[in-house]
């Protein structure tokens, strides 16, 4: 169908083990935004988001692209590698930490040390590591209830996360948050939200703050980026679209990362979504939409570099859909009966840790012994975290009523026990208009 928009190079990605196929497909008039659409270069085999987008700085190029076939096929020399040895070891350590920690959580849950709702991240480690390891400490991460590994990748110590899960007072939220509500001001992990879609406007607000600081408060070096993680089920929620709109409208430094693991508890993504290709929804709002293989940490890292770079340079938001899979059920209470065992087997064969190991061996980046050393280190770290959490005390009863308000007594009374408004310093600096 030849229309004004037929110049879009829409690359469709089949949901299987094949890699990106750059096919020219005539688009329907309903695809894409009304902004001028750039023709993607034919070098779309290795194209990334920035290539087409940077071409025209003024208007938004609504490019929907599939990124990244596996570069490793063409790799022989070190110069083409996606990753250096140090980066490789760092990435490997992070994915293994995520996996071992979550497995330990499952053990602890079945032993009764952990309770309530626990949602594990096994299988999706590539997404967390791929994005978060590229962030600075001041960058913000907003997550959902499946947030243990996001917390670990962002730098929250394993001890603190495990203690929080055990409900001990040494946890990152002193035992008051729990599995679904991990917060860390120091590491800029601002949640941990149980309601799906709730984190998206919060992340958009954090990105808004970053822009506000730069433009209104004149902190010229404030280029903090926010990364919002959420799932496929969330993409049918109204708040998601509201924020895509406002983030693109105000060109906020945010990356929307969809961890599409195809299942929302027992609701298959294909059963609940009219158009299951989530990356397409980005261009509808004027931002690039990218689809990437979320079981491969190196591919995710490449896309993340572009998306985060875009946001840091002030070019606005990006929507990244990561096709991934959770090896366990939705939560530890989920019997996981609806998923097809064949599907599970197919994705288990694409285990991100195995894939990363294979890449690093094939390119002679590391030796077996080095990886084994890391495995051992992580095992010890997680066991130490469990011991620490076990030995930590439960919160004291007096902690029940603390922290409801930032104001200690909640009456507009400051820490010194007097009404804030009576303190002359409180009103200092108020302007006469």
């Amino acid at each position: 169908m030849a229309t004004a928009f037929s110049s879009i190079n829409v690359v469709q990605h089949a949901r299987c083990d094949n890699f990106s196929v750059a096919s020219r497909k005539p688009s329907s008039a309903f695809l894409g935004s009304t902004y001028s659409i750039r023709l993607s270069p034919s070098a779309s085999r290795s194209a990334s988001v920035s290539a087409a987008v940077n071409r025209k700085a003024s208007s938004v190029s609504a490019v929907s692209e599939v990124v990244k076939e596996k570069k490793q096929k063409s790799v022989s020399s070190g110069s083409n590698l996606l990753i250096t040895k140090e980066e490789g070891l760092e990435v490997y350590e992070d994915v293994v930490l995520g996996r071992v920690f979550e497995d330990m959580c499952a053990q602890m849950y079945y032993r009764g040390k952990m309770f309530g709702f626990v949602h594990l991240y096994n299988g999706q480690e590539a997404v967390s590591t791929g994005f978060i390891k590229l962030l600075k400490k001041e960058d913000c991460v907003v997550s959902t209830y499946r947030d243990h590994v996001h917390a670990l990748s962002k730098g929250v110590p394993a001890r603190e996360v495990m203690s929080e899960l055990f409900g001990k007072t040494t946890g990152c939220c002193r035992g008051q948050g729990g599995s679904m509500h991990m917060f860390s001001k120091e590491h800029n992990l601002i949640g941990g939200f149980a309601f799906i879609g709730e984190g998206i406007p919060i992340a958009t607000g954090a990105a808004f703050t970053s822009k506000y600081r730069r433009e209104v408060l004149k902190e010229a070096d404030c280029d903090h980026v926010t990364v919002a993680f959420f799932g496929d089920g969330t993409c049918n929620n109204g708040q998601f679209y509201e924020c895509l709109n406002m983030a693109a409208l105000w060109k906020l430094p945010i990356v929307f990362v969809v961890e599409n693991n195809l299942w929302a508890i027992g609701m298959s993504h294909l059963r609940s979504t009219s158009d299951p290709e989530i990356w397409k929804k980005g261009p509808a709002f004027g931002m690039p939409g990218v689809h990437v293989d979320g079981m491969d940490v190196l591919k995710v890292r490449e896309v993340a570099k572009e998306a985060i770079g875009r946001a840091r340079r002030g070019e606005g938001p990006t929507l990244v859909e990561c096709e991934t899979y959770r090896f366990r059920g939705h939560s530890l209470a989920d019997p996981d009966e609806l998923r097809d065992p064949d599907e599970k087997a197919r994705y288990a064969a694409r285990d991100p840790i195995a894939a990363l190991k294979k890449y690093m061996f094939e390119n002679n980046l590391v030796k077996e012994a080095e990886l084994k050393a890391i495995d051992k280190k992580i095992d010890e770290l997680v066991e130490d975290a469990v011991e620490f959490a076990d030995e930590s005390p439960q919160p004291s009863r007096s902690q029940l009523l603390e922290n409801v308000f930032a104001d200690p007594k909640g009456f507009g009374i400051g820490p010194d026990g007097r009404y804030r408004c009576e303190d002359p310093k409180f009103t200092e600096g108020t302007a006469h208009v």
């Binding site: 913000c140 907003v142 939220c173 002193r174 035992g175 008051q176 948050g177 729990g178 509500h181 917060f183 860390s184 001001k185 120091e186 601002i190 949640g191 941990g192 939200f193 309601f195 709730e198 406007p201 919060i202 992340a203 958009t204 607000g205 954090a206 990105a207 808004f208 703050t209 970053s210 506000y212 600081r213 433009e215 209104v216 408060l217 109204g238 708040q239 509201e242 924020c243 709109n245 406002m246 409208l249 922290n403 409801v404 308000f405 930032a406 104001d407 909640g410 009456f411 507009g412 009374i413 009404y419 804030r420 408004c421 409180f426 009103t427 600096g429 108020t430 302007a431 006469h432 208009v433």
Partner: protein, 351 residues
């Protein structure tokens, strides 16, 4: 900018009369001027000068980056405000009416109110949610609900209900400076009402404490508690009661959460009779909480059952006469006060 409406010689220190609208506008202006982290966002707050003209002139003064016109997406922009507050700014989120806040209530309660607790004090949320609350004139069921009781039930929120211009100015300034989420419930019908204010109120450092009620009028026979618009009606009722020899003490609650239980109980211990007045639905309302508080702390002092005046237990009707019957009127307050004083008065006809 405060335009001094008229200079009258009032008793004591009153030097001017300003409307609630002017009070709110000036408070916002001064706070935005003092702290560059304060910004206003909401529907029509910018170019339209505010749906009820509360933010008039602010766009010209502070620019579109600090006075943001948002698309019509309460859940989205409330969440954005909360996220900005998490990360260090001090947003003021305006809801065109608090009825629309229901679309954003998840963010108000789950993201704003509970965050300081869930994060064990790491993430505080210095945000203010403001807008008109309660019934206006003939706007129908979906635009007339009072949300004081709903929000006041939730730990982690502070809920303020100003009545006069002094309340509006002082409480809004206190709310903006407060490090916690504050629900600031205004009233559309009060925006245009003018109140005398003293020089102290007009000063830019003026601020009222959160959590303290004000005794608008002292009395010795019956205590009448009210908030927002109902304070005006209670004061009129007090005048009528005075003519019949009943001296009513009128308490302007100002703060629904935290509720100033001390002032209420001290007053009841003095007068021994209580009438609570509110505009919202009766069940689980503010009056219910006040009644229980008084029974818990001052039961022995009560000489009569607590009288509760609330709006009718129906969605707000449209017809003018029905709307009048659905909202407390001065006569209802007078009748209730007399009943509390054991004057022979039949029960009011309820809807």
């Amino acid at each position: 900018m405060l335009s001094v409406f008229r200079r009258k010689v009032f008793h004591g220190s009153f030097i001017a009369a300003i409307t609630v609208r002017e009070a709110l506008n000036s408070a916002l202006d001064e706070e935005m001027s003092a702290d560059p982290k304060v910004f206003l966002m909401g529907e029509e707050v910018g170019e339209y000068q505010g749906a009820y003209k509360i933010s008039k002139g602010l766009l010209e003064k502070y620019g579109p980056e600090r006075v943001l016109d948002t698309p019509i997406t309460e859940a989205g922009f409330t969440g954005i405000g909360v996220g900005a507050a998490y990360y260090g700014l001090r947003p003021v989120v305006e809801f065109m009416t608090f009825n629309f806040s229901m679309q954003a209530i998840d963010h108000i309660i789950n993201s704003a109110a509970k965050s300081n607790y869930m994060s064990a004090g790491q993430i505080s949320v210095p945000i203010v949610f403001r807008g008109p609350n309660g019934a206006a004139a003939g706007v129908g069921a979906q635009h007339s609900q009072c949300y004081a009781a709903w929000y006041a039930a939730c730990p982690g929120l502070k809920v303020l209900t100003p009545y006069s211009s002094e309340d509006a100015r002082g409480l809004l300034k206190a709310a903006i400076r407060d490090p916690d989420p504050v629900i600031f419930l205004e009233n559309e019908l009060l925006y245009g009402e003018s109140f005398p204010v003293s020089a102290e109120v007009l000063d830019s450092s003026f601020c009222l404490p959160i959590g303290k009620a004000k005794i608008e009028k002292e009395g010795k026979d019956v205590t009448i508690t009210a908030f927002s618009k109902m304070v005006g009606l209670a004061l009129k009722a007090a005048e009528i009661l005075a003519k019949e020899g009943i001296s009513a003490e009128i308490i302007n609650l100002r703060s629904i959460r935290p509720l100033d239980r001390d002032t209420i109980n001290a007053s009841v211990r003095k007068t021994n009779r209580l009438v609570t007045v509110e505009e919202g639905f009766p069940q689980h309302g503010v009056g219910a909480e006040i009644c229980t508080s008084v029974i818990e702390e001052s039961f022995g002092y009560l000489d009569a059952p607590v009288e509760r005046i609330a709006g009718a237990d129906v969605p707000m009707p449209y017809a003018a006469n029905l709307e009048r019957s659905a909202v407390p009127q001065v006569e209802d307050i007078v009748r209730a006060a007399k009943r509390a004083c054991y004057r022979a008065v039949p029960m009011a006809a309820t809807a």
